[in-house]
Subunit: 320 residues, 2 copies
């Protein structure tokens, strides 16, 4: 218990990650309303949209409208996602509203790179060198290395900690060549292969090699272990997590139709707060936003907390 961090930073990715996977179009006004509701819960990091090709991801054809539509709240960082120069340009148009930083995004699984991006690790490194130059030219700092499939891969199987370390090293080298300084590494369990033991080994290996880097976890609940994996991370002092309200999102990868998406923000907040790790989030307000997300997508979301309610709600009843 002694290893738990005092507080954690939660990056809410529900608006961005959650809506692109829904079959029907989500009205822009609903996306904006969700972002504004999230920003009122105490969350300080919200990823609001994806500047991607609307032909490939029709759900984000309204990225500009969403980026222009939300009401910025003081103290909250709003982020977005892009994959190429055009996407970055579109994001930069909202520089006054969005926090724009670049990352070097790699995969610990070569097979996943090929399936997901249609290029192998070497080609992906080249692409990241070009993208880093683009960021640099635009005056956008590149501060993070992201490693997808860091704990296992549907196309390649188990991923060893050494593969994660090699991938991080490659990402750091790309940044260094460009004179950029990486502060954060994000390890993503893209397809739900992590277990608490794998988290311990993967995080441990990266931390041993680069003790000064801040490690974040991007967890998916594909097989129901996301909260246990988050706890394993917390025990190692990991204090940065991505999550989605209600568990919005899913897993678009082979053979996993209907599988769960990211770890639910509510369950992550409950886990932390009930163990004395501060999140800054009002859980009851967040649960209401989760229920709002369910109304927006028109179906139940994976979060069990949306049905059960917080423990504080019961504590208040007894105190009353």
């Amino acid at each position: 218990m002694a290893d738990l961090p005092e507080r954690v930073e939660i990056a809410e990715e529900g608006p961005r990650e959650g809506f692109q996977i829904e079959p029907g179009p989500i009205p822009t006004a609903d996306k904006v309303a969700l972002i504004d509701a999230l920003s009122a819960t105490g969350l300080r990091h919200i990823q609001v949209c994806s500047f991607v090709n609307p032909k490939l991801v029709p759900g984000w054809a309204d990225a500009e409208a969403v980026a222009a539509g939300f009401s910025p709240r003081g103290g909250v960082r709003y982020a977005a996602l892009w994959f190429n120069e055009n996407g970055l340009k579109r994001a930069l148009a909202f520089r006054d509203r969005l926090s724009i930083t670049g990352s070097v995004s790699l995969s610990a699984s070569d097979a996943f790179s090929v399936k997901n991006l249609n290029r192998d690790h070497a080609a992906n490194l080249d692409a990241m060198r070009r993208m880093t130059a683009v960021h640099k030219a635009a005056g956008v700092p590149v501060t993070r290395v992201g490693v997808m499939a860091a704990f296992g891969c549907n196309y390649q199987g188990d991923i060893l900690p050494e593969q994660v370390v090699r991938t991080v090293a490659d990402g750091l080298a790309v940044a260094q060549e460009a004179g950029e300084t990486i502060a954060d590494v994000s390890l993503a369990d893209t397809m739900g292969w992590a277990t608490p033991t794998r988290i311990e080994r993967g995080v441990g290996a990266v931390r041993e090699r680069w003790p000064h880097l801040r490690i974040g976890l991007h967890l998916h609940d594909t097989r129901g272990l996301a909260v246990a994996n988050a706890h394993a991370g917390l025990r190692l002092g990991v204090d940065r997590f991505d999550s989605t309200v209600g568990g919005l999102g899913g897993c678009p990868f082979a053979g996993q139709k209907g599988a769960a998406g990211n770890i639910c923000t509510e369950e992550l907040v409950l886990l932390c707060e009930e163990m004395g790790v501060r999140t800054g989030v009002d859980l009851d307000a967040l649960i209401e936003v989760g229920r709002m997300a369910e109304r927006i997508v028109g179906h139940a979301l994976p979060s069990e907390l949306l049905r059960a309610g917080s423990l504080d709600a019961f504590r208040r009843k007894q105190a009353a």
Copy 2:
């Protein structure tokens, strides 16, 4: 990682716990088919039915038919549940097919006792003394103390480890007065209040006081933390867990309509096996039984694994 047990014993409670909460009657043949399918997965402990008043629990009006109907498999212990002398008598009629042992069942929350059993802790202790005498008279050994609401209660709020220790002590005293020897203590998170920290403290307090007792955990996934709580138990060497296939069951207690039931057996097996803790269970076979359970109840069950599939299934694809 060093604290993980080498193997765990899983008591499958899906047939008993899962069907009593379903609104429609489940055909006896389906119940029997599920039990027989479960016994083919490698599970060694299966709770098959509840000998309760059919007027109070209509879903178990067919307890005798189920107890008579399944096909016993060598090496598998089949258990049942009862709450009074009449229930025990009905169970004893199947002594050749069922493993019959008694337990002293208490609640760490007085308020829960009153709400759930309509008697306070003192009255419940009296009832347990009478029931222990009934077991003894029938030649049924009383081997376990069960503690409900061991980590928190919807009606009473937080439960401290000291309350759990007091409750276990009361249960042990009831058994001792009757000359019975308790080997197992089961701590139940009846309403989903546990966190990994509370598991560590509760299990730790009981183990410190009674190092020779085997501690089991009965976890509910009411708020999505069940797998993390199981992992916290495993780290302390806990090697006995109750669970239900698919996450069958629910939470009939105040304000939690639609809340999840017990920890899913599949997710517990995945957690254990992927960390090198043996369960003896064939996970892919168990996932198929989970899908069968979904067909029987006619709706999706909480288990994420039913949709995502095991990791071994993907490993085999790559090996092929």
